[in-house]
């Protein structure tokens, strides 16, 4: 019954599982195939010849090949958010319920409105777009491009988020074998027996390569049986990893290979927790490329007609899938290999109408074969044109050796123009292939280091040579990886003649002859390209789009070169070579992303008080990888500014607490720690007393400010540095560089302590009283014992070690208290508890920012990589008594120019006006042009203390212009307003609150 529904399925044979029929749909039509089918073979078995429309001319197209080089049979697979356009039917493993649709046709596949493009074909030749749509330029965006986009392109993206997961993984091996055909299997077997760790990859779902599609016997058993035995031995070996459905798509530096494993593409439904695809980075000591070869079409009129199929693909369909691509087959081959199609079709009982071979003198054996098959032989003949309807081929015109033209009926034309070694991977690191005149094909010249090419990929097309080369290269690779390998017995195989006579393009064809099927490039386009002067391969490619489709011209490029060579009278190698780029076949971007998408784009760092802050309902802001509480809304507060202003007021009038653990913290230890700091900071630290903190600024080598922060001296040989959150890692790296490279002679030891300490700022007039409730009673934290800029170690809450610093970013009486990070959650709860009587209020990054702007402290907005210490108003901190990094370069005239923009404060003249960061300053009345630019606003905040907006910014000569007015010009938001220049310290300019 199933056979009835599959009219073109042979009654027996093939490597399909007839016990497992699979229902599927193509363009809504229900069909049946078998496990072991590809979508293409199932379509062939169901008599479907037309699978899609071509890119440019919307020509009817059918299956051309049986592999990943397929340029024609591109379909949309699945539906909804899983809809995937441009899937090669030849590589899609059939599964139950598969739904596929043809592409690039409207309203239907058999009647396609845009196939009228074919009627205008004379207009649509190479360069058409460049010439026609050039002007008027304004039409391009509005008219031409949308039109072209609508007409061209293949398939439709789903437009929905991809519901599947993808993974990235790393693998390591001694010998990577790329390709699991006869060559690769022998290579893997030899390396495996030597004890090497072997990874064998094949893009197919079954190992065996051409052995699955040919009728070879190996060592007296069928090729498929030999494959079975060999794979079984490999599978049993613990040192071998077999990776089916895995395409090695790229070669990268130092033995690294990119591979895509299609984990779930062949499954009807998503398996929970399994990725759809896995992107492998394989690091291999050695690699053997056994990727086989790709058969090339012959360029003649109508060679793209559905039913014109590669000769080896016909054998794949007949032998591997028991599916017959035609009822009356003609074979057009210039080589011995193509004759296997004659033999195999005849053996399968498929009538072979004719064999057309341009070679006039054919060996006796081939002539007898044609006789036995009952085929008319046209030795020295050529197929001029193929004709038919959109559903397929009906007839061919053959030019005989004598020059007469004979028309034959055929619904399938098997063509073979010879074989191109699949050398794409060998060119990924830049090497260019070389022409081998004896096989009329390019082979690899200098493969990437560590990779050797074997078998058909190396131009050794006969089976015996594949087996022998595979074994030899497998042994060589294992030896090179440090193993002792011995050559296995090479199994005996029959003769496999590879004679051929090049035939690239048939002259005197009357109809369109295709070179690049996927991009619709014809022989005529190449002639036009040549006649217009685009003769270099690179120009040819760009002028005609040849080889620029997703198949990278696997079936097209060499034919195109040969045609160009004939046009220019040069040899093929003189004409040029084509190289390939990764990936060998398309890879979904999602596979490169793996798990790192959405909120997992990069890791997230959580602060010690995160759990508590989340309980308070705080919104979080990303600062680098960190999530920090932005503010802590109270019930009823709906506007962030209300919450933030409340937090500022509460801190300035009572006490506030903020998690500042994200600031970088570095233990700097050793006898020379002070001297070391003197060299990295612009100011002096070696003189800092134990128990004191100092603010420091460090410069880059070029004199620009790198970072700022405070450093405390906790012991004679122990300093504790803090950095800004954003520069924590960079400063650590800088210090390590300085120590390891610049001054290895110093006795300095560095350790990052950022994650060790949970650190909270407790600020406000009641800060000390709040702290007192935490600090163990034996420690004195009075103003006398621990004055402003003091530091000490003590214990809190009954013996927990802590570090206490009397430093202030808010401008209030403030401390920062640090405990081992695990206790951070407990500490914030304890602070809230002991501070309750004082009205302790947690504040987030927004209030932190408001208070630092009110105090004129520079932060990330100000330290923007163009600023000097003098620009910040810290010129006097720059020591003249010592050398330090950046000192010399900071003295360059441009950086020392007294007229440079200086950090100053700004108030809106109209106090109700909101300020905007990024606004540029212009003199009053001056035109808003770059020449009049005097600087820009870096930070703004609404100051609840002053009840109006305030800003910080850099202004030319700013320090000497206090009280002046300038215009703040904000073209981004279309705003313009006057501001008054003021001191950047808006609150408590004398710092009296710090010292109470």
């Amino acid at each position: 019954m199933a056979a009835q529904s599959q009219p073109a399925r042979l009654q027996s044979g093939g490597l399909i599982d007839r016990a497992r029929p699979l229902e599927f749909q193509f363009d809504g039509r229900k069909m049946t195939g078998y496990a072991g089918d590809t979508l293409a073979s199932a379509l062939v078995a169901n008599g479907v010849t037309l699978t899609g429309r071509s890119f440019k001319y919307h020509r009817p197209r059918g299956v051309l090949t049986a592999g990943s080089e397929e340029p024609n049979a591109l379909v949309e697979l699945r539906g909804g958010s899983r809809r995937e356009p441009n899937t090669k039917a030849t590589t899609v493993e059939l599964f139950a319920g598969l739904e596929a649709r043809s592409q690039n046709r409207w309203p239907s596949l058999t009647f396609d409105a845009l196939s009228v493009n074919s009627l205008f074909a004379p207009l649509l030749v190479a360069g058409f777009y460049y010439k026609t749509f050039m002007w008027p330029a304004a039409f391009w965006e509005k008219l031409y491009e949308p039109l072209i986009r609508k007409a061209a392109g293949l398939g439709r993206a789903s437009g929905l988020p991809d519901p599947d997961t993808y993974e990235k993984a790393f693998a390591f091996c001694d010998v990577l074998v790329i390709g699991g055909g006869p060559t690769g299997l022998m290579a893997a077997l030899t390396a495996c027996r030597a004890g090497a760790r072997v990874i064998l990859c094949d893009e197919d779902f079954g190992f065996g390569g051409r052995l699955l599609s040919e009728t070879f016997e190996i060592a007296g058993i069928s090729g498929a049986s030999w494959v079975g035995e060999t794979v079984a031995e490999l599978a049993e070996s613990a040192n071998v990893t077999l990776m089916r459905r895995t395409t090695v798509f790229g070669v990268y530096d130092t033995g690294t290979y990119g591979a895509l494993e299609r984990v779930g593409d062949h499954l009807p439904t998503h398996v929970p927790h399994q990725p759809r695809q896995r992107l492998w980075k394989i690091v291999a000591k050695r690699a053997v490329l056994a990727a086989g070869a790709i058969e090339r079409p012959i360029v003649f009129g109508g060679n793209d007609r559905p039913g014109a199929v590669m000769a080896a693909a016909v054998r794949s369909y007949v032998n591997r899938y028991a599916a017959v691509p035609g009822r009356r087959i003609a074979v057009f081959t210039n080589n011995d290999d193509g004759w296997k199609t004659v033999a195999d079709c005849a053996a399968a009982g498929i009538p072979v109408e004719a064999v057309i071979d341009p070679r006039a003198n054919l060996p006796e054996g081939l002539r007898n074969l044609a006789d036995r098959a009952g085929a008319t032989l046209f030795a020295g003949g050529r197929v001029l044109d193929a004709y038919g309807v959109s559903s397929g081929l009906q007839a061919i015109d053959v030019e005989t050796a004598g020059g007469s033209i004979v028309t034959l009926n055929a619904d399938c034309l098997a063509m073979s123009g010879g074989w191109n070694p699949a050398l794409a991977l060998t060119t990924h690191l830049g090497s260019r292939p070389v022409w081998r005149p004896d096989i009329h094909a390019f082979v690899a010249s200098a493969p990437p280091p560590g990779l050797e090419v074997a078998g058909a990929a190396n131009g050794s097309l006969a089976l015996a040579a594949c087996l022998a080369e595979g074994a030899a290269e497998g042994a060589k690779a294992a030896e090179a990886a440090g193993f002792s390998a011995s050559m296995p017995a090479i199994p005996a195989v029959g003769a496999d003649p590879t004679g051929m006579m090049p035939l690239w393009k048939v002259e005197r064809s009357r109809t369109k002859a295709f070179v690049d099927f996927q991009n619709d490039v014809t022989a005529k386009d190449i002639a036009i390209s040549e006649s217009e002067g685009y003769r270099s391969v690179e120009h040819l490619k760009r002028y005609t789009a040849l080889g620029m489709a997703t198949d990278q011209g696997k079936t097209a490029n060499v034919n195109a070169l040969a045609i160009m060579a004939a046009l220019t009278g040069k040899s093929i190698p003189e004409t040029g070579v084509t190289t390939f780029r990764p990936p060998y076949t398309p890879v979904a971007i999602a596979a490169f992303a793996g798990h790192h998408r959405g909120k997992h784009f990069r890791p997230t760092r959580l602060t010690p008080s995160h759990l508590w802050a989340a309980e308070q309902g705080a919104p979080f802001v990303e600062t680098g990888q960190w999530l920090r509480a932005q503010w802590y809304p109270r019930p009823g507060e709906t506007d962030w500014l209300v919450s933030v202003s409340r937090e500022v007021n509460a801190t300035r009038s009572g006490v506030g607490v903020c998690d500042v653990s994200t600031l970088g913290k570095i233990d700097i230890m050793g006898a020379d720690a002070g001297a070391f700091l003197d060299r990295v900071y612009i100011n002096t630290f070696s003189t800092l007393a134990i128990g004191k903190v100092r603010y420091g600024v460090m410069l880059r080598e070029d004199g620009i400010v790198m970072d700022d922060g405070t450093t405390a001296r906790l012991a004679d040989h122990h300093y504790y540095m803090s950095t800004t959150t954003v520069n924590a890692a960079k400063v650590m790296q800088h210090l390590e560089f300085c120590h390891q490279v610049l001054w290895p002679e110093l006795d300095v030891q560095l350790a990052s302590a950022t994650e060790q300490w949970a650190q909270f700022a407790i600020a406000g007039p009641n800060a000390r009283d709040t702290l007192r409730g935490l600090i163990d009673p034996e420690f004195d934290i009075s103003n006398e014992a621990l004055p402003y800029m003091g530091a000490t170690t003590l214990t809190i809450c009954g013996g927990l070690p802590a570090r206490l610093f009397r430093i202030s970013f808010s401008g209030e009486l403030a401390y920062e208290i640090a405990v081992p990070a695990g206790y951070g959650d407990g500490l914030i709860r304890a602070i809230m508890s002991v501070g309750a009587p004082f009205g302790v209020t947690p504040y987030g990054t927004e209030a932190l920012g408001v208070m630092r702007i009110e105090k004129g402290h520079a932060a990330g907005n100000e330290l923007n990589g163009t600023i000097t210490a003098a620009d910040l108003g810290l010129g006097r901190m720059m020591s003249t008594k010592k050398d330090y990094i950046g000192r010399v370069m900071a003295e360059r005239p441009g950086l020392a120019d007294p007229e440079r923009p200086r950090l100053v404060g700004f108030k809106p003249v109209d106090r109700a006006q909101r300020l905007r960061a990024g606004a540029h300053f212009l003199p009053l009345g001056a035109k808003a042009v770059a020449a009049n630019d005097e600087g820009f606003m870096t930070s703004v905040a609404f100051s609840p203390s002053l009840n109006h907006w305030i800003g910080l910014g850099y202004l030319k000569n700013g320090a000497s212009r206090l009280g002046e007015r300038v215009r703040a010009h904000d073209p981004v938001r279309g705003l313009e307003f006057e501001v008054e220049i003021c001191d950047p310290i808006f609150i408590d300019p004398k710092g009296e609150r710090l010292r109470v």
Binding site: E167, F170, V271, H718, E755, P777
Partner: protein, 202 residues
């Protein structure tokens, strides 16, 4: 003050509540949170590596490793992290005093930085552990390459990680910065879910 006595919070708190485990649950990977490890960075002072090695050998009976190796005696281990630099790891001891105890024992041959709270450590084992780690770690863990006692500083799924192998089962301990424990747990979960995950001390 006893009412204020603070208790440490595990960095993995709230991050290991995996839900929707696959059918294979329990089969592939076993996790154990190691909140019982005290840690400190030990760096030899200038020109004092030999003295430090001597001290460590005499005090703890441990030969300091010369490379990325873990050498243990009893509950204490030293792991090489760089030239003259080590991570000292003590199991079950008082984390709050570990650094000062080390400093007392090693004298002025080394500088010591307390790191007990800075790292979140997971012990991972089980039949599929190598397969899980291969999804994020660019280091070859094959038994012919990476053995018990070997250690590596690397990154796992963009997260800086310090890893060492304890035994041939194999069992590894992986240490990441404390703040990244959640992201690290997410990596383990998303990579191990298809094999099943068991948590020894949830």
């Amino acid at each position: 003050m006893s009412d204020l006595a603070l208790k440490p919070l595990s960095a993995f708190r709230g991050h290991l509540a995996f839900t929707g485990m696959s059918e294979a649950s329990g089969a592939g990977v076993t996790l154990e949170v190691r909140d019982d490890l005290a840690m400190a960075i030990v760096i030899a002072r200038k020109g004092r590596l030999a003295a430090l090695a001597e001290n460590v050998c005499q005090t703890y009976g441990i030969d300091l490793p010369a490379g990325p190796k873990r050498v243990a005696a009893g509950s204490l281990a030293f792991i090489g992290t760089g030239p003259g630099q080590f991570l000292a790891v003590e199991q079950g001891g008082d984390a709050l005093t570990f650094a000062s105890r080390l400093a007392g024992a090693l004298g002025d041959a080394a500088s010591i930085s307390d790191q007990s709270a800075s790292r979140a450590v997971l012990r991972v084992s089980g039949p599929r552990v190598r397969g899980v780690l291969a999804k994020g770690l660019a280091i070859d863990l094959h038994p012919s390459v990476f053995r018990p006692g070997d250690a590596a500083l690397s990154s796992i799924a963009l997260i800086g990680a310090h890893l060492w192998q304890l035994d041939e089962r194999p069992t590894y301990e992986i240490s990441v910065f404390r703040s990244l424990a959640g992201s690290f747990a997410e990596f383990i979960w998303s990579s191990a879910a298809e094999y099943g995950v068991t948590i020894d001390n949830p």
